[in-house]
Assembly symmetry: D2
Homo-oligomer: 342 residues x 4
């Protein structure tokens, strides 16, 4: 089966799997007190700054929910795009687990701006009102777009001026780094970002996410929170080794570059098909497009994908580290066949 459903429908990159295999020797103290974890943390610090505190967790829901939880109090609200994963796809984990009130604001191709947030910066000090505590953005966004460093800085400044924090859901941060052509640090720590929920799973790892506290103070006591919230991995080395392989030899970059370029290729070919309209600028590894409704079901049988907006027949096609030229060509071939037979 081949699919454009999600970058997590792919398997494990061979180099990652090899890393798991290579560290599978002998006994190792559990729960992260091991050389692999030390090394992986060191690598994160090289990419995000020496003051970064790093905690590995199992998945993105945990990474987002616990990152936001530790940065806020239960009476805080978190302002985010209405399209954000924390708002739409965590089954209410931020509310239930962290006690957070999310304030979704309208997005522009998945992004939000200070002007969208400002009307909600109110009620400070008024105990009846959830106190604005953080802004959360996704980089790259759920709509396949990318914030520029100056946009991020503007949001971080707005947050800090109001004693709030800026959180990034970075489940696809690597794709953004590649699109921007910038090191991670340039559009996170350097812009004043406070917390990053950093994802490896969607970029070739088996599983593994990292909560990065870019401000050391924010990490206080987090080790208890991770354990209590059921995210402490006993055989931690097997996440750590993946991240090591992923950073060394710049595998993260190669994987992200590949996925992004496959999406570009797909987008380019699509422009030749008159019945399809690309709805969002293709900046990373996803293509959003409106297609004729009666194409959807037969297409899905060949290459699985998700309908994004049922009302508009908008679909999402995600490319991955292992999407092949052949995948794109066969899929485009299929689309063209549909197109010509009309």
């Amino acid at each position: 089966m081949r699919s454009f459903a999600s970058d997590n429908n792919s398997g494990i990159h061979p180099a990652i799997l090899k890393a798991i295999q290579d560290c599978n020797t002998d006994h190792t103290v559990g729960y992260g007190d091991d050389v692999y974890t030390k090394r992986a943390i060191e690598l994160f610090r090289q990419h995000f700054g020496q003051h970064t505190e790093v905690f590995f967790v199992f998945n993105g829901t945990a990474s987002n929910t616990l990152g936001l939880m530790h940065a806020t109090k239960t009476f805080n609200s978190v302002i985010c795009a209405d399209t954000s994963h924390v708002n739409t796809d965590e089954c209410g984990a931020p509310e239930r687990i962290a006690g957070i009130k999310l304030i979704p604001v309208p997005n522009r191709n998945g992004k939000i701006k200070p002007a969208d947030i400002m009307p909600h910066l109110e009620g400070f000090g008024f105990e009846h009102h959830s106190q604005p505590g953080a802004i959360s953005i996704t980089q790259s966004t759920e709509m396949g777009t990318v914030y520029k460093p100056e946009e991020i800085k503007e949001l971080a400044d707005l947050a800090h001026q109001n004693s709030m924090l800026l959180h990034i859901d970075g489940s696809r941060l690597a794709n953004a780094a590649v699109a921007l052509g910038l090191p991670f640090k340039n559009f996170t720590s350097d812009c004043g970002v406070d917390i990053v929920s950093f994802g490896g799973t969607k970029n070739g790892m088996m599983m593994g996410e990292a909560i990065l506290f870019l401000n050391q103070k924010l990490a206080k006591d987090f080790k208890y929170i991770r354990k209590q919230n059921m995210q402490l991995f006993s055989k931690m080395r097997f996440i750590s080794a993946q991240f090591i392989a992923w950073f060394e030899d710049e595998l993260w970059k190669k994987n992200a570059q590949h996925a992004n370029s496959m999406a570009q290729k797909l987008a380019k070919e699509i422009q030749t098909i008159p019945q399809i309209k690309i709805t969002v600028p293709v900046e990373v590894n996803g293509v959003f497009a409106e297609i004729p409704q009666h194409w959807i079901e037969p297409l899905k049988k060949e290459f699985f994908f998700y309908t994004w907006n049922h009302l508009r027949n908008e679909v999402r096609w995600m490319c991955s580290f292992d999407t092949t030229d052949k995948d794109i060509e066969q899929f485009i071939g299929l689309l063209k066949k549909f197109s010509h037979s009309e």
Copy 2:
């Protein structure tokens, strides 16, 4: 490094790793809607009964906490041994996540009996009092002992007579099965157990635990609870494939048998050392012993392990699927050297 610290200081059994590798082909729908997961669930049903509902989670804390949470209401209490992992080693996850009040009762070599529980079966219907909702036992126990089927049945009957449920923390259920010489079903479903938190990680898997609702009704809506509680794995096939390999060819049995027999070997040799006193019957893969205090530090440098009770200089030595005869021999050699030099 070799250690007797915990059965989770071991790595991955080669056959498990091979299974991960073998399923690492192509794209697969995420979150468990795949053939590997279907097969793994089927295998669980073969071992626990056709009505078993199976949900994979990342670790034991989640398996225990969410299993108990879904079986109780927030105003329930759960009665357990004071030595139980849920009481001592989850950093308060049952209280914080599930809202449960744990009622720890004194243990007998890690086990509890109806007589220990009965004094706490009170206050039913009285709204000031946490309502007893479940009994939780560990099989095999944290002290390396095993409940007999009739003991489990007796506890299940007591629970059901009081409209409560019986939960088993089965992070080492395989070791118990081997020690009893019985199929899983005989000392779980057949005895009236309601929920099992079933562990693979400590018996040769990379990671993977399963929450088993032996009574189908108890599983209602659990899929939302797993997701909301940050335990839904996107690339689920990589847990499922491990369980498949683990059940097929009875790897679970071989691993557990090996670990148990290594502990027997260790215990047998220890009896020849006069300064060491085994404190708990060795029924599975752990040996508890009081040793001279000044031996502890130098010993730990060679083979890492944990002190169980600092006041009594009681230590715990755990054997694993990959503990070797040589490990035992070297360790015993060391102990004898200490012994003779006194």
Copy 3:
């Protein structure tokens, strides 16, 4: 001090205070097992139907939060108007205490319609998505408007068609009953409403709110939830006696009628002042109006009130059971003085 700030800035109606006094004799079993509470519950059943289950709590935040909590599961969402008290004025209690995800939808003078809700009735069965579990409306609304019975029925039907419940925040239900000229039952139980958070405090009581489960099954185990959530009053008779006095002699109706008519009077007089624009139809006891910005501060010094919308200089003037003709006249006098001096 006189004010139009809120109907809870008033004190206790003398008949209510007398009822507290009258029941202050002798000893009474605590926590609601007393004759006053039995009688008060009976009176609620006369007004809402014989199957109503009644639980008294201390305040409106508790009444809303625990009512919604008991009617939903942690993975449910609750759809409400963006202006609803549960969304704006509970400091995130529904999220933190109940684990609910609120989905605020745009209001029309404080009210919502099926068309506003329907776009959010999606993702059923999809575990990534908070499952729509209830619709919550406020009667009378925070904007001083009233749902007609047929509008409520339409919302209840929509809810039930989707296996959801309909909840009413009824902190001012008495004002709505008076405005509609209908018994409570006609626009609650008879329309299919499932739960009412019923308020007495804003209509002349010292304090006292009731969670009404109009469907008996929904009340199961709620007594434990009330206690655990810190809302069980030991000297319960002192809430119950208030409700008895409030229902007997129709004090609730007299108080609400008075408050509503004072708002009508205020609104009528205001129409003669050209600089003021009433922004919402005055249907119960509140008047919303845009006034010249520079009037606000000096006015507040004489009669305290709240600015509702700072951007539009919209203010809220609430009338209460104890608002007097003189209050209105003096206030109007003041407004006219401002008006003429321009």
Copy 4:
């Protein structure tokens, strides 16, 4: 009906009721921003120290649960007597609401000592273990005994040496003050106590409890927590006025003195009845005694009370501010009649 069931089966002291009446004039800003609340807080500061931060809540469950919650983190444990109200009579509110793990230790007539606590001061820094965060004691205790200031100081010192806090459940603190013959300050602030859950309801108030943060820093942000946890009273003046009346003219002292002396009288008379054995020293307003089993039911019909320990036929008789000499005499008369007829 007359009863010895609990000091909360009494009504409201007339002076308290008068205070409610007296402040029932005119409009007052809600939620505590009023002169009554300012005055009540001032009075608390006179009794507990100028740095005391004072928050009124509705009942004792809230006072204990939220006081402990704000002083600890979710991963903390709280050590308390097994007989403590937080452990036995809050239906698990500390666990569910505050996420706290309670560690009950054996009591000595309701009291605990450093030696009882010390074995649980372990696992600091070890993320698997709930981190000891506070000690909670009850003054006067649930068994009707009183801690001496030096005993409290010893516990506070132990707590602080371990970076923990000392909390007092003071639902009957007034009775202790009277028994000790000391101002509140001498056995709270002066001994290093950090938080007091202070009760008025059991000593003649209609309702009203105060959370006292004796260390100002601990109170940070608590106003949001009170609101979010459903404990903010809109018509706050009606709690505040009660506390004013209670402190002025030393009503608290008179009430507590009376209740205590009635218990002494009861205890003294009981000593003449050979079939009754007083089981706990009578230091405040409760008498615990073992009585013949067949007396219990007929006695309860005349004067309601609770059986404390069913196994030992131990009953609890509580005296209150409104227990009369006649109550005692009639009850003793009844007991003597039972005694003589054997």
